[in-house]
């Protein structure tokens, strides 16, 4: 296995996540695309951890931290989407234009 395979796979997943964030209209699906980007970053971290044969497994541990932060992010994000839906009867990001005159 060579490291470039993993980096390119991570780049592909990350690019798909960016595409999802930019093109999705429903707020829940935007959060779903963010999860895809985080998964891509995790693949890179673990691959580089194996690449440098890290003695203290720093890459794996930071992947674990990202998993924990992603769980927190989903909890908060869905709570905000829920609140917006309750107040505006809609979870579409292009209809949240209260700040526009």
């Amino acid at each position: 296995m060579i490291i470039t395979q993993f980096v390119i796979l991570g780049a592909a997943l990350f690019a798909l996540g960016v595409y999802g964030v930019l093109s999705r209209r429903n707020a829940v699906l935007v959060l779903l695309s963010v999860e895809l980007m985080l998964a891509a970053v995790n693949i890179n971290l673990v691959a580089f951890d194996a690449f440098v044969a890290d003695r203290i497994a720093g890459g794996q541990i930071f992947a674990l931290f990202i998993i924990a932060v992603a769980a927190a992010e989903v909890g908060i994000g869905l709570a905000i989407v829920l609140l917006i839906f309750r107040n505006r009867r809609s979870a579409n990001v292009d209809e949240l234009d209260l700040l526009k005159l």
Partner: protein, 188 residues
């Protein structure tokens, strides 16, 4: 730019295992961002995360792999399904889930440029340097490392999780209206 020979990409059996995992992984990721059914998108995310867990096993990172299965597939995806049910996101085929074609083309251009940029940078920087024979990382070593070298970040993450837990409850909780308080019905 370092010339990459085909042998490096396809020479060992591990490369074929990698491809067998990576191609469905990218397909699942593609369906996550294009599926016109919300529930299908979430289920394809399960496939993508399962593929990444399989890659972690291939790299010898067993604990991270099972953490992904437990935390992501077990908890986060269920949370997403709850979010979809509660916000009554249109379940079933729905064309309005994405922005119009004009926006989607711009998004595809941006993400495609990003992918090409990272791919060229990776090929230039690493070429065909191979990953050393992966030895399985023992969970005991990970625990040792977390509680010695990374104990401060670990504690910070635990506080972040607690704050997110409290914040999620505070944000999502429905405040009772003044009439309900007057009537003594302040329960959720």
């Amino acid at each position: 730019m370092v010339a990459v020979t085909a042998g490096d990409w396809f020479s060992t059996p591990e490369n074929y295992v990698f491809l067998a995992i990576a191609l469905p992984l990218v397909f699942a990721g593609w369906r996550v961002v294009t599926s016109s059914n919300v529930v299908h998108a979430v289920l394809y995310l399960v496939g993508a995360l399962g593929g990444s867990a399989a890659l972690f096993l291939l790299l010898g990172a067993e604990f991270v792999a099972w953490a992904v299965v437990l935390v992501y597939i077990g908890a986060v995806v269920v949370l997403f399904l709850f979010g979809i049910m509660i916000t009554r996101a249109p379940i079933g085929v729905e064309v309005e889930l994405s922005h119009p074609l004009r926006v989607r083309i711009s998004a595809a251009l941006v993400s495609g440029a990003l992918f090409v940029l990272i791919a060229i940078a990776a090929l230039t920087a690493f070429g065909s340097e191979s990953i050393p024979e992966a030895e399985v990382t023992r969970t005991a070593d990970i625990g040792q490392s977390i509680f010695e070298r990374f104990v401060i970040p670990f504690e910070v993450v635990s506080v972040v999780l607690l704050a997110a837990l409290v914040g999620g409850i505070v944000i999502a909780r429905r405040d009772p209206s003044p009439e309900e308080i007057a009537a003594g019905k302040e329960t959720l």
